[in-house]
């Protein structure tokens, strides 16, 4: 951790009367509100159905938003989660089996894609609970590898061919199959994922921030960190499962190649580029990178070089991601406006 250098004399001078402690001002969670509002608009607003590209790209953004949120939840504990595709796959195959053998009811499918990976996350969560930093990252990479290989090796899951020909989800007797409806289902499920994450961070946001900032202190003040860590891992797995459902729903096939280990790295990149202050970070990171990737894809052979360049630039110049950097600027401006005397303080207060 960068050591703190004190450059300014202590502010406490006996002349200033102690300010009455103002009642704690409730801060409005702008990030969360923006994302929920945009998703609700996407759900309800009429969209130009013939603009296939817009509908398809929106669908792709909301499909992988759950995966980015899955990374974001663990990022709140300063943990880089590379195993997201594993839990996407567990959710996806749970839905595929439900659709093929049980029912194509949308609600049952969504529940399956949410509950099964959450339950599967518990044993993996117990393994990773004691790990920190790079170790946690590499082990989640390994979990992604093991789950992928397990799926490929299981005949019941179609092995290398996967499970093709999945029925479109139904709502009552309405079949939700066409392009725009698939996108609406995607937005709805993404909204569910966002609300799930918002609920979890609202309930344990304080514990998450404390464990991220100073785990030892939090412990000695009485915080039991294991339930929080396990809870985070389970919620992360659940929203990954929702994203897995949307991948399968778009492709009408549960195929192992959709959940490759290296795609896990993309989802981490979405959050690191977008920022991890609030759910707005992963949302913007996902939207930006998904749109740019498909834009770059038409550059033919230099597609991956352009994406690589983008990652380099954002890592160098936006170290807290887009939203983090903007939030830091706003906070600095607000602090400078509210207390000019301490403007000189260059305290690097944002603990990475």
């Amino acid at each position: 951790m960068p050591s703190q250098t004190e450059t300014v004399t202590p502010v406490l001078t006996t002349t200033t009367p102690p300010r009455r402690r103002s009642a704690p001002r409730p801060r409005v969670p702008w990030g969360e509100l923006v994302v929920v509002v945009v998703l609700v608009l996407l759900l309800l607003l009429p969209l130009p159905a013939n603009d296939l590209q817009l509908v398809s790209q929106l669908n792709h953004v909301v499909t992988v938003l759950g995966a980015a949120l899955s990374v974001y939840v663990m990022m709140r504990l300063k943990l880089l989660h590379f195993g997201v595709p594993a839990f996407m796959a567990i959710g996806a195959y749970a839905v595929a089996l439900t659709g093929l053998h049980l029912t194509s009811n949308l609600v049952v499918m969504v529940l399956a894609s949410l509950v099964v990976p959450a339950v599967a996350a518990v044993p993996f969560g117990l393994i990773t609970m004691r790990l920190r930093g790079t170790y946690f990252a590499l082990v989640t990479f390994l979990i992604g590898q093991v789950v992928y290989l397990l799926i490929v090796a299981t005949e019941a899951l179609g092995g290398t061919d996967g499970l093709p020909g999945l029925p479109a989800p139904t709502w009552g007797d309405v079949v939700l199959a066409d392009q725009v409806t698939t996108m609406r289902v995607g937005v709805g499920v993404a909204l569910l994922a966002v609300l799930l994450v918002i609920a979890f961070t609202a309930v344990s946001g304080r514990a998450l921030d404390s464990l991220r900032s100073n785990e030892v202190l939090a412990g000695s003040l009485g915080l039991r960190d294991r339930p929080v860590r396990l809870g985070a891992f389970v919620v992360s797995a659940a929203v990954a499962g929702l994203s897995g459902f949307l991948v399968v729903n778009t492709l009408t096939t549960a195929h192992p190649s959709s959940f490759s280990v290296l795609s896990g790295v993309d989802y981490v990149a979405y959050v690191v580029v977008g920022g991890w202050g609030s759910v707005l970070g992963p949302a913007i990171g996902t939207a930006l990178l998904v749109l740019l990737t498909s834009q770059f894809a038409s550059e033919g052979t230099s597609a991956s070089a352009l994406l690589g360049g983008l990652l380099i630039l954002t890592s160098l110049f936006l170290q807290r991601g887009l939203t983090g950097t903007v939030a830091h600027l706003v906070a600095t401006v607000r602090r400078r406006r509210s207390d000019p005397r301490r403007a000189g303080r260059n305290a690097d207060d944002d603990e990475r």
Partner: protein, 403 residues
């Protein structure tokens, strides 16, 4: 539920909300739909949907080069005559990176850009992802996969640009049985993925038809050292080893290590041709030992060499050899558009079906595939049974077209 604990000093709401909305909206801008006569702003677009990066880039880039060359041929001759307008052919690329998601996003992107004539995709799982969307929007797909679901009567606008194993496996197996009279057993080696297993199934039936019992073994994709795998394989050495559709890099290593392990029986490849890439991976033709392979084209033939030279003259360096295999289909597709003065997929498809398969570079062929796929939408060209012995290459023409 108090959000107080949630308060993040986040960005001003308006700036970010606007950014979010702008970003998601900027993907629009669909150009006009396809036109029957004339062409929008003097151009006819061909949607290229191929893996241009990642592990399948070798095939993807090669197939793209075929269309790139065919288009340059047409454009240098004044372009396509659409009614009274002259239109240049333009390639509209989308890199699928070999993933089903990207292929699915790609087909949507191309169709919404008005490109309903698609050159690609290349891999089985890409075709499965693209198929429902293409069918729903009536797009024509000239794909290059060996997927058993690649073409079918229910998909009238799907074509196969290259001869698939179902077309060449049986005659090749019969040639192999004749060439190696005492061969009774064959071991097919493929990666543990969908493409590998599809080809292995067809080859096994073909060998059975030629009196050779074939068994299949798979290796984990991403294996670098095949020595352990070969040790396992040589415990009871087969008469023949067939690499089917194993990627060229892996094939090279397997051949090198089989020879090092002392296996000097014939090694073959009834599957997608990649001989020149395999020879590079092995290091030299002599390193192959006794090697037989399905040769879609004779790369040393004069017209093919001329094509390589012409491509190099026009684009700077020679093309990947696999591009020659896709050249006939590329020329026929452009010819069908030119003949019908239309880019309407159904119209072009109807014309394409009836075009004779007679390519100046690669030679004659027929529309085949009815017995295996139920529809004659596969360009079946006469091919050769290639064989390397001590570095010397011999080609035996095998005719399936009866021409």
């Amino acid at each position: 539920m108090s959000f107080r604990s949630l308060r993040r000093s986040t960005a001003t709401a308006l700036a970010t909300a606007a950014a979010m909305a702008a970003l998601t909206a900027c993907g629009g801008g669909a150009s006009t739909g396809s036109t029957t006569a004339g062409c929008a702003d003097g151009k006819v677009g061909i949607g290229v949907l191929l893996p241009l990066s990642g592990s399948a880039a070798g095939f993807g880039q090669g197939i793209r080069q075929a269309m790139e060359y065919a288009a340059s041929e047409v454009n240098s001759a004044g372009g396509l005559t659409m009614g009274d307008a002259k239109c240049t052919v333009e390639l509209v690329d989308f890199d699928t990176k070999g993933s089903a998601e990207q292929a699915s996003t790609g087909i949507n992107t191309l169709i919404s850009k008005g490109q309903k004539i698609i050159w690609g995709p290349n891999l089985s799982h890409e075709v499965t992802a693209v198929q429902p969307i293409a069918q729903r929007n009536g797009a024509l797909i000239m794909q290059a996969s060996y997927s058993s679901k690649g073409i079918s009567p229910q998909q009238p606008l799907n074509f196969a640009m290259v001869t698939t194993p179902s077309g060449f496996a049986n005659p090749m197996a019969k040639w192999v049985a004749a060439a190696y009279l005492d061969a009774r057993t064959a071991l097919i080696v493929v990666p543990d993925n969908e493409g590998g297993r599809d080809t292995a199934t067809i080859d096994t039936k073909a060998y059975a038809g030629a009196g050779i019992t074939a068994t299949t073994t798979t290796y984990a994709p991403g294996t670098t050292d095949f020595a352990p795998f070969i040790g396992n394989l040589l415990r009871n050495p087969p008469d023949l080893v067939d690499l089917a559709s194993t990627p060229p890099g892996d094939s090279g290593v397997i051949i090198k290590q089989l020879r090092q392990a002392g296996y000097d029986g014939p090694i073959g490849r009834i599957g997608g041709e990649a001989t020149s890439a395999i020879i590079d991976a092995v290091g030299s033709p002599a390193g192959l030992g006794d090697f037989y392979y399905y040769a879609a084209i004779d790369s040393e033939a004069r017209p093919v060499q001329d094509y390589f030279a012409a491509f190099a003259a026009r684009f700077g360096n020679p093309p990947l050899t696999v591009s020659a295999q896709a050249l006939p289909a590329a020329r026929m597709l452009l010819h069908a558009i030119d003949e019908t003065d239309s880019t309407d997929p159904a119209v072009v498809a109807a014309a394409l079906e009836k075009l004779p398969v007679d390519d100046p570079t690669v030679g004659k062929g027929v529309w085949g595939g009815k017995d295996f796929y139920g529809i004659n939408h596969e360009i079946v060209l006469d091919f050769f049974a290639g064989r390397y012995q001590d570095g010397q290459r011999t080609l035996t023409p095998l005719s399936v077209t009866g021409l």
